[in-house]
Assembly symmetry: C2
Homo-oligomer: 113 residues x 2
DNA sequence: TGACGGTAGCTCGTGTAACGTGGTAGTGGT
DNA sequence: ACCACTACCACGTTACACGAGCTACCGTCA
């Protein structure tokens, strides 16, 4: 069933990453594991790294290189003010779509047709 | 604000059309107006007609040509059994994403990290 | 008759996102 | 020296939303 999620995830995963970063700054590899943990098993590094690069290009995050004991240094991403605004906007848009979908589903035909 | 909805609507609008057709059979032009009425103002005919053709190709709808007094004949779309199944699947996927997003937002950190 | 406006349908091009595949590189353990 | 794990990145494919443009039917009004 979870194979056709792809299209519906567009735009959503970026919001997820923003929310994760709002909770706590993190880096690519960990974000992937976090997303997998909550159920987005299809989100691999090939999905997450482009998102992070997008966020960086849009200046929604601050990036710091941090050395790690295991493996190469990590690029730690932290949400900045613009990122927080983008996150708020994301949730607004989500709420909007969510409510409209509810309207269509429940069919509160207050008018015409 | 509603200008950046596009990406988040991917996959969702098809579900909306399915739901609209489940409520009552309809045709392209009317579906566009219906979507606009509930708030999806960006959904134009250039968006809806490809969706309808997709549904037809996937055999989720039955199509009938109906003459109209005003303008050219209408292509009336009606959901069939497979369409109803697709609709159910759509709501399942929506519920899935919706719940996971809720988890991430509310941060019910029941485990690790 | 001819011009207009609303109805109805369709096509094409563009932009963007998810995601698979594969590639590079640093680290520690054996 | 080898391997596994961590971390990052690049490329190509696929799919969708949407704007812009086109055709065509009908009734009304000039």
């Amino acid at each position: 069933m979870m194979d056709e999620l792809t299209e519906m995830l567009k735009g959503v995963l970026e919001g997820c990453v923003l929310q994760i970063l709002a909770h706590q700054e993190s880096y690519g590899y960990q974000i992937v594991k976090e997303l997998n943990r909550v159920g987005f098993t299809s989100a691999s590094d090939g999905t997450v790294y482009p998102i992070l690069m997008r966020l960086e290009k849009k200046n929604l995050v601050d990036v710091t290189k941090v050395r790690s004991e295991l493996g190469p240094p990590r690029k730690v991403y932290a949400l900045n003010a613009a990122g927080l605004r983008a996150l708020a906007s994301f949730w607004e848009r989500w709420e909007f779509i969510s409510s409209r979908l509810g309207m269509i589903k429940e069919r509160i035909d207050q008018n015409d047709r």
